[in-house]
């Protein structure tokens, strides 16, 4: 897969959109491939309902993540966005409904089995191993990756986050929030993932760091399908291709991001955002 990423990157640098000629098209598509037919959906949730203890958090979420696109989950605090990602990863398993990934039903699988299918997860709290160095964090994430490929992935991550070179041997727990976010995202790129679930990458970060993370996601979406949970509407609307609006455990609206940007009533009603 990584050869294809590199080839794809070269194609894009040469002005080619990277869709032709590589065998990795199924996994990594450029942004322009967003308008792919429905059949190319990578992840499908149908009427997913999840309980945490006695609380009925997800009350019927249905969504489709299209291959090669960035799909953004939007909604107020407590709407069920984070739980949706956790349910996909099997961390809070769905009680009702089905989750299909690449045509296979994964609702009944355990977290590690789901991850092995090629789904990376960047949790809201970043899930960094604080007692390990940054390079140990990345090495741990490089499951079933041979040495040469590991080096190429590291280079790719350092290309995406050049700042990371400075603190590769530092303990991850000693890093700032923005640096930890870089490590958390890079960790999702260290193995053969086709889909990356990213939960609120801008949370608690200074505006300048949010910009850096946003730029990285802009670059990253050329190579991997992303399902993003984001409260920062600027980031969501810049990076996202498609949106799902979640409220009280249901999805209440969805469509291309451009449609949401132009629908002032919808953004005001559900997000409290006044779009100029």
């Amino acid at each position: 897969m990584w050869d294809d990423v590199i080839d794809n990157k070269k194609d894009i640098a040469n002005g080619n959109n990277g869709t032709g000629g590589t065998s990795g098209q199924e996994q990594i598509l450029p942004r322009s491939s967003f308008l792919v037919p429905q059949s190319s959906s990578l992840l499908v949730l149908e009427n997913v309902q999840t309980y945490i203890g006695q609380f009925h958090i997800l009350q019927g979420v249905s969504l489709t993540v299209r291959q090669g696109a960035v799909t953004v989950l939007l909604g107020r605090n407590g709407a069920g966005k984070t739980t949706t990602l956790k349910t996909i990863m099997g961390l809070t398993p769905a009680k009702v409904g089905t989750i299909t990934y690449s045509g296979a039903t994964i609702s009944a699988e355990t977290t590690f089995q789901i991850a092995r299918r090629g789904i990376g997860y960047v949790p809201e709290d970043r899930g960094i191993f604080r007692e390990m160095t940054v390079s140990e964090n990345l090495l741990l994430a490089a499951r079933d990756v041979k040495n040469q490929e590991y080096q190429r992935r590291i280079e790719f991550c350092l290309d995406l986050f050049p700042d990371m070179k400075r603190f590769m041997q530092q303990k991850a727990g000693s890093l700032s929030g923005g640096q930890q976010q870089m490590v958390a995202i890079s960790r999702g790129l260290m193995t053969n993932n086709k889909l990356l679930l990213i939960d609120e990458p801008s949370k608690g970060l200074a505006p300048i760091v949010v910009k850096a993370v946003m730029d990285a996601l802009e670059k990253l979406k050329e190579y991997i399908t992303i399902l993003l949970v984001e409260q920062n509407f600027t980031m969501a609307s810049t990076v996202g291709d498609y949106f799902y609006l979640i409220d009280d455990g249901h999805n209440v609206a969805d469509g291309p991001m451009s449609q949401l940007i132009s629908d002032k009533d919808l953004t005001r009603q559900y997000l409290g955002v006044g779009v100029a």
Binding site: L91, T110, T111, P123, G127, F129, E131, M132, L140, R143
Partner: protein
């Protein structure tokens, strides 16, 4: 106006390395004064070697406990029973392998053919494998049948493993057909004899072997935890189990491996104990377990190196305390624990560091 900045000559004391060196020098001077005034040099050396052997046995016990209790937060009181089983399995199988068939008491027994009459080295090597296998099998059984359902539930772990202690101690008597609470070797296991570095000092080869075994195990487990991918998964799993699962690792399997490794190390501790004491008793595991718990807490929960330092500290001090203050021989370990926790509540190397 320019003010000349002068630095006190004592600033050098701020350097931790200088302070450590000074502490070592002061310690050395105190030991020399102690040797010259309170104890004869050959006795001091004898106690020092005995202390190293004690440390090594204690470390083997505490290293397994450090992995199971310190890293995985599993309170396993059955660890002491595994120590006893390892030691008894070793002694029993050694007696079996080293006794010639012609001298067998019961030649009709179905295992009488195992009385091979092997030389001490071969019998010890085979019995070592048998003792370690006993620890491994017990570790597998305890994890699969009991602990697996109780991760994160310490009260249930305590109750269940205390019950297991009773079962394992009683079954020990049945399996090894014990008529007395103690058991010993029928023949002298390897290594026997010793050497004299000076006319007044005799060092047993078995002491050397036990000290080297402890050191090798420390290096091997330290390497496993800090220099391998498996170690990374274990350390990651201890810190954030869910995240390691989300990276595609089946943490249950890794924890199972750690539990079995810890049990094998406990069995090795039991074997070293029986070789050093030329025998063992039913209660040897539970007595050592208490000290091992103290060692792990003194070293700092989750710190494998801390367990090694704790074992060294307790093991080295024990013979001297026993010599000068016999009344404190059993209780001083608790006093040491209180002292360390008063100064460093997280233990000497605490804080989930390895």
């Amino acid at each position: 106006m320019k003010v000349a900045q002068t630095q006190s000559p004592l600033f050098i004391l701020r350097d931790r390395r200088v302070l450590t060196l000074l502490a070592l020098l002061v310690g050395l001077v105190l030991i020399l004064i102690y040797i010259n005034t309170a104890i004869k040099f050959p006795v001091f050396v004898k106690f020092f070697i005995n202390g190293l052997v004690e440390s090594s046995v204690l470390f083997l016990m505490a290293s397994g406990l450090s992995l199971i209790f310190g890293l995985m937060d599993v309170v396993n009181f059955a660890h002491g029973a595994v120590f006893t089983w390892g030691g008894f399995a070793f002694m029993w199988s050694f007696n079996l392998f080293s006794t010639p068939f012609a001298q067998a008491k019961d030649q009709t027994s179905p295992i009488a053919w195992l009385q091979l009459g092997l030389d001490p080295l071969s019998a010890t090597a085979l019995a070592l494998l048998f003792g370690l296998a006993a620890g491994g099998v017990l570790g597998i059984a305890i994890e699969l049948l009991a602990i697996r359902r109780l991760y994160g539930r310490p009260v249930f772990q305590i109750l269940l493993t205390l019950g297991l202690v009773l079962i394992l101690d009683e079954s020990l008597k049945i399996v090894f057909n014990l008529s007395a609470p103690t058991y010993s070797f029928a023949n002298q296991p390897w290594p026997s004899g010793g050497f004299r570095p000076s006319p007044d000092i005799l060092v047993n080869w078995k002491s050397v072997v036990i000290i080297v075994a402890g050191l090798l195990i420390f290096l091997a487990v330290f390497w496993l935890l800090n220099r391998t991918k498996v170690g990374l998964v274990i350390r990651g799993g201890v810190e954030d189990t869910q995240m390691v699962q989300a990276l595609g690792y089946n943490v249950k399997n890794y924890f199972f491996g750690v539990f079995v490794l810890g049990s094998v190390l406990a069995a090795l501790g039991g074997i070293a104990f029986t070789i050093n004491s030329t025998g063992g008793s039913e209660g040897m595991g539970q007595l050592s377990l208490l000290t091992a718990f103290v060692v792990v807490v003194i070293g700092g929960l989750g710190s494998f190196s801390g367990a090694a330092i704790g074992a060294l500290l307790v093991g080295l001090i024990t013979p001297y305390i026993g010599y000068h203050f016999p009344a404190l021989a059993d209780s001083y370990v608790m006093l040491l624990l209180v002292l360390v926790l008063l100064v460093r509540p997280q233990g000497l190397f605490g804080g989930k560091k390895i």
